[in-house]
Assembly symmetry: C2
Homo-oligomer: 237 residues x 2
């Protein structure tokens, strides 16, 4: 009699890394936290900006990318939906269909307001935490995209952060009255917001929010989630 | 043998009215749509700004107010939670606990960005659609609150609407990919956003968004919901 053994293969997650093992991809953090939330085995592989084009035959330009057996996927939102649909017996990322739709609104806000707003504050610090080949790529591509030097883009951050912090009011109000965006427990919406703050923490001493902001207190709670995988990752406090 | 008959008493909703039967309270529209969504009998009572203080012994300063038998409540969010918790056998406003939490984020965004951003564009038009005693109250209270005349507040709207429309990007992205914030069917999050656009429609020809904006198309869909109660209410097209 032959015994078949099902091998539980870990899902592979590719994320960006800089010097000093800094994991600074905001969108990869969404996926990293989602995998932990669902209790799925994951093998994290750190790659450089200039590696993305070499892997998967130029199929992807951004991380996160996951490999789940034969399935290869990128884009954090598609990955989140895939994980929740493929592993419904594991804790839900969204807590229902209606919540999934509204999480997309939260993500749209994060992309359009939070991450876009923070980008200039961090862009030079990101550069300074990259390996030399990635520095060269990053400076050239970003200066071309935005039509300014990295130094120019980040020069007014002490002034601009005032309006930026004011723009976070919807998040602040929400987190003033609950532990997580998901209520008493974190949901994928939390991880979407977390990714941006963890991106900042990983490479910059610049404070996106003041220490007594309810958002800062929520971020501290998130750093401790899932065995503290956020806090254990190299960053500034 | 005595036959007892349970009298189904309608829930009374108080909302603001101006001249020409214009119902311009954004937050009352949240409640009006919520009552319709749940299929609850409602009796709508239109009152003036200067009536609010006379009713309920000065207990409330704003509408909506509902009376459900002995229960008297104000504030649209508290009312929405009350309706969903009190009538769980009726269609849910939120579609689950997780979605309820995220709806609060949507509402915080509406209050801090959408309604606050639109206020100056509409403030003079609101005034012009009030009865004379309400006009007097409205002008005095708003000019005191904001430190400018209503004319000054609304003078730059053609210029300011450009940045305002850009600030709606999270909503635009979300509605580009789905019929409603709730997905294929409307949820309370839709009614929260709807209230602000219906407020504008009720008293102003000024376009908060352009006609080909996905947000404008979504608003048209909302006007047709629940027997077209939104569209039937007096307003500009």
């Amino acid at each position: 009699m032959q015994v078949w053994r099902v091998l539980s293969m870990a899902i592979v997650l590719y994320e960006l890394v800089g010097i000093e093992d800094r994991r600074f991809s905001s969108n990869s953090w969404r996926t990293r936290m989602a995998l932990a939330h669902k209790g799925l085995d994951a093998e994290i592989r750190a790659i450089h900006f200039t590696d993305i084009g070499k892997l998967w035959g130029n199929r992807f330009k951004t991380v996160p990318v996951i490999e789940d057996g034969p399935v290869v996927l990128n884009e954090s939102w598609k990955i989140a939906l895939y994980l929740d649909d493929t592993y419904p017996q594991k804790p839900s990322l969204f807590g229902g269909a209606a919540s999934r739709e509204l999480t997309f609104f939260v993500q749209s806000w994060v992309d359009a307001v939070l991450t876009s707003g923070a980008r200039n504050f961090l862009i030079l610090d990101i550069h300074d935490h990259l390996t030399p080949p990635d520095q060269k790529y990053f400076r050239a591509s970003r200066e071309k995209r935005f039509g300014k030097t990295l130094e120019e883009l980040s020069s007014d951050r002490e002034r601009d952060v005032v309006a930026f912090r004011a723009s976070l009011e919807p998040l602040r109000r929400t987190l003033s009255e609950r532990l997580f965006l998901g209520g008493s427990a974190p949901a994928y919406a939390d991880y979407v917001v977390f990714g941006t703050f963890q991106w900042a923490r990983s490479i910059s001493r610049f404070r996106l929010v003041e220490a007594d902001d309810p958002i800062a207190k929520w971020f501290e709670r998130c750093l401790d989630l899932h065995g503290g995988i956020g806090r254990k990752s190299p960053g500034y406090t």
